[in-house]
């Protein structure tokens, strides 16, 4: 599948943004994070900024963005429509929670309820994003049991590493949060390795024989219907060399998991300004690594239409 930058950026940014929003909604709403104005403003600005930038980027990917409002109508059958509804609906409790926590400096009563609702909305939105990909049968690497947990865990992972960077930056960090961010990073790493292992051993029942209805023997593509690449090949026929794939997997592991984990471990031991710097660096490295991971998620996914072209 063609790794369009708008979609790669969208899933990475909204994943981190919703992860951060969910954690802020629960932890700040329950009084675990002090209602400091600048901390709150930076945190809510970061999470809603990432979410909004991601959503705008995905809208830019549309052929007719001016009709995007129509995408809220088919929530009964379409995961993409459900994602649209959930993402917009989440802005309501998130906005109320932001006003209550940041502007009014409150963490009790309706502010706590709004925080919880924002967290529920964030998790629901990430689920719908994951299901868009997990529900696509023609792409075996996505139509697997790893896709939805992947979206959820990566969202929690990037969100917690961001929250840790935020709190460390305001000298309000805790070892508990550092440990959680480290644990989630390790969990994400494990899941990614398991996903790659599963995809590399994937044996799909669909082949050139079932695609053409010609049973038995071998079916070899002799001639394409066109001489140049068409929409199908540009969009779904994207191929990546095995050596590049191996190298990019290493870069993903280094940037998204190994380096952030080391920097988080270092933050345990370092005094304040250095622990903050280390935490912020870990968040930046992880987001860069996740962009590579998401690029590979698309580049390594193979659509069944490529079988018609002998690929």
């Amino acid at each position: 599948m063609h790794p369009a930058f708008s979609v790669v950026f969208f899933t990475t940014a909204t994943g981190a943004g919703y992860g951060l929003l969910a954690l802020l909604g629960v932890l700040a709403g329950q009084g675990f994070i002090p209602p400091d104005f600048w901390l709150g403003l930076t945190g809510m600005g970061l999470s809603l900024g990432l979410i909004s930038a991601g959503l705008l980027s995905s809208a830019g990917h549309l052929g007719r963005p001016e009709r995007a409002w129509r995408a809220f109508s088919q929530w009964r059958s379409s995961w993409l429509s459900r994602e649209g509804v959930a993402s917009v609906a989440t802005f309501v409790p998130a906005g109320l929670f932001g006003i209550g926590w940041v502007v009014l400096g409150r963490t009790s009563g309706w502010v706590a309820v709004a925080g919880l609702l924002a967290a529920i909305g964030a998790v629901a939105t990430v689920c719908t994003t994951g299901m868009i990909y997990a529900s696509l049968k023609p792409i075996a690497q996505w139509h697997s049991r790893f896709t939805l947990p992947g979206y959820l865990i990566f969202s929690a992972m990037t969100g917690s590493v961001l929250l840790n960077a935020l709190l460390q930056g305001f000298a309000a960090g805790s070892n508990m949060l550092l440990a959680a961010a480290l644990l989630l990073t390790a969990l994400g790493w494990g899941l990614k390795l398991a996903t790659w292992r599963y995809n590399d051993r994937l044996e799909i029942p669909t082949n050139a024989n079932t695609a053409t209805g010609l049973s038995g023997g071998t079916v070899r593509s002799m001639e394409w219907p066109h001489t140049e690449e068409n929409y199908l090949l540009k969009e779904m026929g994207f191929r990546i060399a095995r050596k590049h794939s191996a190298k990019l997997r290493l870069i993903t592991q280094a940037l998204a998991f190994a380096l952030p984990a080391l920097l988080l471990i270092a933050a345990f031991a370092l005094p304040w300004p250095f622990a903050a710097a280390s935490s912020i660096l870990s968040a930046i490295a992880q987001l860069a690594g996740m962009l590579v991971e998401r690029w590979l998620f698309f580049a390594e996914a193979k659509h069944t239409v490529t079988l018609y072209y002998g690929r």
Binding site: S135, T212, R220, Y231, Y309
Partner: protein, 244 residues
Amino acid sequence: MTCLPAHTDKKLGLVIDLDTCVGCQACVTACKEWNTGGHMAPLTDIDPYGGNVDGVWFNRVHSYEHMTEMGGRTVNFPRSCLHCETPACVTVCPTGASYKRASDGIVLVDEDKCIGCKLCSWACPYGAREFDTDVGVMKKCTLCVDRIYNDNLAEEDRVPACVAACPTSARHFGDLGDPASAISQLVAERGGVDLMPEMGYRPTNKYLPPRAHTNRAASVPAQALQPMRAEGGFLGWVDRMLSN
């Protein structure tokens, strides 16, 4: 609405005979010619005379080499929308632009509602949908809805353009939901198959596999040349002179 109809009154579709298709591309050009002025018009071409030709087509003919223990053969393979009974291209559509008609089962796109998110083309395992980068919407085979119900055409012309154009009658059109229809009988007789049945999309269109190889050709050799009866006259004289 992108929820699928529980039942369609008819299951209109195509049956394609892989035994007789000669890969002449007549169906491809006839389709393009009709549909670039039809329901989903235009079928945009980008840089048609340049080095990076691209464009929207509803029907594409591939050629394959099928090798079995009985030998090899060339199979020409037209690929277009199969108007599936459970088309995920419809259910994934967020806007309601894609729909399956309850009356005849045809899968269509309402161009005025399409936002061009391309998700339907990802959901189709067969590559039936092609994005029009110029208009910004998705396009696909309409089974020539603007021909098959068109009272302005003579009755024999009320078939999809590809079917009308096929010089070897490799393409057949009809109601595959009616077991008594000529097209259903043909599928039953020739053992028509679904493409990628394991995907579970339940395509309406069926493909007739090439007939089995036979040894008939080898068992009927041409007659050996026979000596000619001696002729009289001038030609006979020439023949005698040359034979000496």
